[in-house]
Amino acid sequence: MSPVPERSAGTGLSHPLVERLRAAAPILTVPVLMLLALPATGDPSAWVTLTLAGLAMGMMIFVMASGLTLVFGLMDVLNFGHGAFVSIGAFVGASVMLWLSGLLDPGGVTLHLAAILPAMIAAMVVTGALGVGFEKIIIRPVYGQHLKQILITMGGLIVAEQLIYVFWGPDEIPLPRPDALRGALVFGDVAVEKYRLFAVVLGLAIFLAMHLLLARTKIGLLIRAGVENGEMVEALGYRIKRLFVGVFVVGSALAGLGGVMWGLYQEVITAQMGMEIMVLVFIVVIIGGLGSVEGCFLGALLVGLMANYTGFLVPKLALGSNIFLMVLILMWRPQGLIPVAKR
């Protein structure tokens, strides 16, 4: 059909099998880690519980990290303010949930299940809208300057945290999950928390949506090109500014969604919750390879699993397990699991 050859003859591969294995190596890390842990834990039902919980935790982290990897990798912006969107998303979501639950179920002990979806949407709308302003005011002057990005987004983070205090007060807000998302499904000695199942479904859906968007449309290409040479992208007739705003909005909205999910997981939210999760989120993004949604996904799963396995086997080491994992992976692949760009 199209004369566009997918692969030129000149770069034909010498050992297809070796090459294919090498290409699949990042993806194989997850099952390999799982298999290694099986004999180590000894107890199959404990292993299943830990593994499922770790994977689900990974999905939740992924939702929070996915926006960052988009923005961080594709637009080359180090957004420390991402944590602020997580917090704001959680607070907006909480307000909506508490308000709706009050309407739907006056006097109820827990939040109402039906309030969750509207809350997520509201959180995404608000954080997305804030993302527009954030991009225009805070990020735009500092494209391409990592250091200033760190500073200015840190500033944004502090301001956002303080504004949360102004609007919601200094107290932490409890978010008791609805009963339907509380407790676990128990099979023999294996327990799978219901909320984590919910997180898996949501996380997978977001992953697939992002993957398709970036793989099947020009958008991913445009953003990567724009980071390297925005002028040239404009000279080709694309409105790079609009595109960057768009990406940033999506990234922020995902952070907001992540905030609601995380708030429901923790069942309590504070203004600092976003900041507290940032180091973990950065580690995930780095492990994955900047800007790669797929890598971020794998990184999040690895981090989730690793924390549970080490926590079970040698809790003393659980503390450094993420950092250890990151250093190990960077030693093996200096640009993360799935490097996107040679920056």
Binding site: M57, V268, T270, L319
Partner: protein, 372 residues
């Protein structure tokens, strides 16, 4: 006459802002209550100077030095965080002025880092841990602990363990998790494994400061399928909301506004309700105790001279929202009642209600002296 100057040096801004607010409100109410609303002692007006440590130890030191050295305050009260408090202790000694610590909890404030200018109205970690042990410990009970893996958690468990030994309960397992743990599945699994085959009552006692919310995480894994219960200490009202998931849970708390029955607390609850449209909380009570202690000490000493204050305060008993407190001579720690509670869920109340099971009086708890 010269006013009496009191500095409130505390972390008004930063992560403990909520605690700080309560503490200050309590302090002011305490001064008001103790002076019968005159805000005067012996004809001298009380003047309170607020200073914000921003939760930074270096700021705490500088501000306390400023309060003592430049503002010439007669005594100081604060701070919220133990780290800041520990940094401030030597300043009190250097300036030879009294510092009433409230509500920082580290044992070492009235323990190894103690000096004779330090008094504390707040409870220390040992008081917390021991009261909990006394509350839940009984013959035939098996307990496992879940704590943060750093000094605070380990010391708390150590004190808890010691006190538990006297109750006939058996401590079967200690689990320590990193302070920033997000996923408690592994810890829970280990705790369950340690307890599930034990006979009798099985309890996981959690001591955890700050985020992470391990209680609800462990509970989500359904410990009840092995007949395991959870237990932990009290907390501020916003945090008590989450306790609604644990009806019937037992533990010991420092304060809950409906528990203490005494005139001071009645006044506090009434006035607080009027002025702030809500009941007083943990640190309101603490702040008030500190304010009352200051007034009573100056009254008793008849002056604001440091040496006179110290001798007046050592061994002094005073009435607070938590009943009678007493500054122990040896380490200047205020001994006080704690409350064994049981959680009740009342749909009309936003948070979990703590019903009193038993007041743990000063003499029910053996709080070790750890000064050097």
């Amino acid at each position: 006459a010269d006013p009496i100057k009191i500095a409130h040096v505390y972390g008004k801004t930063g992560p403990y802002e909520a605690y700080a607010k309560q503490s200050h409100v309590g302090l002011m109410l305490g001064l008001e209550y103790a002076t019968n609303g005159t805000m005067e002692i012996g004809g001298r007006k009380i003047e309170v100077i607020e200073k914000d440590t921003q939760l930074k130890p270096d700021q705490g030191r500088a501000l306390l030095a400023e309060a003592y050295g430049d503002d010439n305050v007669d005594l100081a009260i604060g701070p919220v965080s133990s780290g800041v408090a520990l940094a401030m202790l030597p300043i009190a000694q250097e300036y030879e002025k009294v510092l009433i610590v409230e509500p920082a909890v580290a044992d070492s404030i009235t323990g190894e880092n103690f000096n004779r200018y330090i008094f504390r109205t707040g409870r220390n970690s040992s008081q917390d841990a021991i009261s909990n042990a006394v509350a839940i410990g009984a013959k035939g009970t098996y307990v496992a602990t879940l704590a943060q893996d750093y000094a605070f958690g380990r010391d708390g468990v150590a004190a808890f363990k010691e006190a538990l030994a006297g109750t006939g309960a058996e401590l079967v397992f200690e689990e320590y998790a990193p302070a920033d743990t997000k996923d408690f599945t592994a810890s829970a699994q280990r705790l369950f494994d340690a307890l599930k085959d034990k006979p009798g009552r099985k309890i996981i006692w959690v001591i955890w400061a700050g985020g992470g919310n391990p209680m609800s995480k462990v509970n989500d894994l359904e410990p009840s399928r092995y007949g395991i219960e959870l237990s932990t200490g009290g907390n501020i009202l916003p945090a008590l909301v989450a306790y609604k998931a644990f009806p019937g849970m037992e533990g010991a708390t420092y304060y809950y506004y409906e528990i203490p029955k005494n005139p001071v607390n009645d006044w506090l609850v009434k006035v607080h309700q009027e002025r702030y449209q809500g009941p007083p909380d943990f640190f309101t009570a603490g702040g008030m105790a500190a304010g009352i202690a200051a007034v009573r000490a100056i009254e008793k000493a008849g002056s604001t001279d440091t040496e006179k204050l110290i001798s007046a305060m050592e061994g002094m008993s005073f009435e607070t929202p938590k009943g009678t407190m007493m500054f122990r001579k040896e380490d200047h720690q205020a001994l006080q009642s704690m409350y064994h509670f049981k959680v009740r869920v009342d749909p009309k109340v936003d948070w979990a209600v703590l019903d009193l099971v038993r007041e743990l009086k000063i003499e029910d708890m053996n709080i070790p002296i750890r000064t050097k």
